[in-house]
């Protein structure tokens, strides 16, 4: 089945070749970072995590959001997702790989990364995050691959896959919860020290992930002639709308607690992000853009459902994706660290090599996703033409 990943139309091959450029640039920048140290990034002794860790956090959400198609399809027999569920599972695979790569490039001593296994520390949330992420990667790869292989052969999936599928549902919630625990268990970091962090992570993930899936489906329809089915997209749209509403509600709750209680440790980080603190206002336009786009996306999502407009849907989902990316991929980490333990405010901006390394990682994720989706599309088109028996390897 894997040989299907390397067969594609000219345009598709060109797309893969184009992805190699940012991957190469990112690799070159990483070699420089490997040589010189993390000094080439914008991080420092106060903002100790930056773009890499933020992308990791955002992408864990994208990975977890596969549950939004897996659970309805397998638990509630939502047939609308029949053509989407495998796309969601493989998106999760690519997203987890991106997470792992982003953590890897953030390490100061990458050659010692196996110390996490050689000297395991079960008291560390990072240890458990590694466990749940690698487990989730294996689960989705095994489930997706097995179901697809059965579909190709016109057979029913074997019985042992069912328990794995059921396991993957709470596991998806688990990966983002454990990722939230990385942050919300730290004393003295007011923005993160909230029990609402995991629910907030999940709500924004269940908005951004399915929104990305909708955008991918629309792109596949336009560029690859693969129709995921309007019913599935409409159902996903409803998911995105509810998740975004919950996300906005949770943000409002954070605002109330922080500003009504007036406790400096809780208030000042939100104040830094949304209003500026001690003259540091770098994040303010970003955060209000994010909040505005979040708020605007909900009526647009509803409008796309009412008017059955794919164009409005594409715009709405783009707004969701961009707004949640700003919130998690820019604001969350820099905002949580900007006010140092010694009460000084430090702005953070990623450097060019830092961004290029991350772009290179994203491009390698797109490459993996393209290869996986080629297999899916080729199996599907065989099935659609009723010629499964005349597959490539006969």
């Amino acid at each position: 089945m894997i040989e299907r990943a390397f067969i594609g139309r000219a345009r598709s091959q060109l797309w893969l070749a184009a992805l190699l450029i940012p991957i190469g640039v990112g690799l070159a920048c990483y070699l420089r970072q490997f040589e010189r140290g993390l000094a080439i990034t914008g991080m420092g002794r106060d903002v100790i995590w930056g773009f890499y860790v933020a992308q990791f956090t955002f992408l864990v959400g994208v990975a977890a959001s596969a549950v939004m198609v897996v659970a309805p399809f397998y638990l509630h027999q939502s047939r609308e997702f029949a053509r989407i569920v495998i796309l969601g599972e493989f998106l999760a695979v690519a997203a987890v790989l991106l997470c792992i790569l982003h953590i890897f490039v953030d390490l100061g001593q990458p050659a010692r990364v196996l110390n996490v296994l050689i000297h395991p520390a079960p008291g560390s949330v990072m240890f458990w995050d590694m466990v749940v992420l690698s487990g989730y990667l294996v689960l989705n790869l095994v489930i997706g691959w097995t179901c697809l292989d059965c579909e190709r052969n016109g057979a029913k999936p074997p019985g042992w896959v069912k328990p794995l599928i059921y396991l993957s549902i709470p596991w998806a919630v688990g990966i983002h919860t454990v990722t939230a625990f990385l942050y919300c268990g730290l004393p003295g970091r007011g923005l993160w020290l909230t029990a609402l962090l995991a629910p907030r992570f999940l709500s924004s993930a269940f908005a951004s992930g399915p929104a990305l899936l909708v955008l991918i489906c629309l792109a596949l329809k336009r560029f690859a002639g693969f129709d995921a089915g309007e019913a599935g997209l409409r159902k996903l749209t409803v998911t995105v709308a509810y998740a975004m509403a919950a996300n906005l509600f949770f943000i409002a709750l954070e605002f109330f607690t922080a500003f009504y209680s007036g406790i400096p440790g809780h208030r000042r980080d939100l104040q830094y992000l949304f209003f500026g603190l001690d003259g540091h206002t770098a994040m303010v336009p970003w955060m209000w853009t994010s909040l505005t786009l979040m708020a605007a996306s909900i009526p647009l999502l509803v409008a796309s459902l009412r008017r059955r407009s794919m164009r409005i849907l594409a715009v709405a989902c783009s707004l969701v994706f961009v707004s949640t990316w700003i919130d998690k991929g820019l604001g969350l980490i820099a905002g949580g660290l900007a006010v140092s333990p010694l009460e000084t405010v430090v702005d953070y901006a990623p450097t060019a090599p830092e961004v290029l390394i991350s772009v290179g990682i994203y491009a390698s994720g797109a490459l993996i996703l393209t290869l996986l989706y080629r297999i899916v599309l080729s199996v599907r088109s065989d099935a659609d033409h009723g010629s499964a028996a005349l597959g490539a390897d006969s």
Binding site: G37, N115, G188, L342
Partner: protein, 252 residues
């Protein structure tokens, strides 16, 4: 030859010695008796009254610490490495200092260092055990094991940990050959001078302060100087509400 090549091929040549470290403590690991300073719980008391009185303090504590441990002086504040340094009181005790006494405590720079907490968040989050608490309360850093994830720095509510964003060696003006430097990509911090304690000497900062503002001793020994100071004076600790139980006390 073949064995080595095999190990190289598997990429294990570097990690193999680490497995050897799992060997248990053997009888020959006995300490040199007599020489080392031992305690049930090491603690430091900083007499802020003496710091305030010393209006011409030459920063000897921080200087001694830097030269003793080869702490680099990096110009870029973002990449600074700090073990012991002086910081305005309002930064050490945000929102806690009496504002009706002229604000002197808030303005004046007082020593800041690792608090060697009894309940340290940094060791809790470390994914490799590279930082851990010794039975005598010292929070140590094993730079050989550190993977540079900086989780401990996110967890430390005192900003007492530093990361080597670049190779520190070019930033050393003089080198103390009796203490190693660090390499890029690892975290470092104050160790209460564990290497000096093992040789029967007090921490470098304590020894260097000519105003005798810093005291060091065993909290569990009622006769130790720190126990006496804390018994007879009012002392505060940094961010006690976080439950970290610092071992560095400030007498005010």
């Amino acid at each position: 030859m073949l064995k080595l090549s095999l190990l190289a091929a598997a990429g294990l040549a570097r990690t193999r010695p680490l497995f050897a470290s799992l060997a248990s403590v053997r009888p020959e690991d006995v300490l040199e008796p007599g020489a080392a300073l031992k305690a049930g719980r090491w603690a430091m008391v900083i007499d802020v009254r003496k710091c305030l009185a010393a209006t011409d303090c030459p920063d000897d504590c921080a200087r001694a610490c830097r030269s003793e441990h080869n702490v680099p002086e990096i110009g870029d504040t973002r990449h600074e490495v700090k073990w012991l340094w002086r910081e305005p009181g309002e930064h050490l005790f945000p929102g806690e200092l009496d504002q009706f006494r002229g604000g002197e405590l808030s303005r004046r720079r007082l020593p800041a260092l690792c608090n060697h907490c009894a309940n340290p968040p940094c060791t809790r989050v470390c994914p490799t055990g590279a930082t851990f608490s010794r039975p005598d309360g010292i929070v140590v850093m094993d730079p050989h094991r550190c993977i540079g994830c900086r989780f401990c720095m996110a967890a430390c509510p005192y900003g007492s940990r530093s990361f080597n964003w670049e190779d520190p060696r070019p930033h050393l003006k003089a080198v103390n050959p009796d203490y190693p430097t660090r390499t890029k990509g690892v975290v470092e911090k104050c160790t209460f001078c564990d290497e000096r304690l093992a040789k029967g000497r007090p921490p470098a900062c304590v020894e260097a302060c000519k105003y005798k503002a810093m005291s060091f001793g065993d909290l569990k020994d009622a006769k130790s100087p720190v126990a006496a100071l804390l018994r007879d004076n009012y002392s505060i600790r940094r961010k006690p509400e976080l439950g970290t139980q610092p071992a560095v006390y400030y007498v005010i």
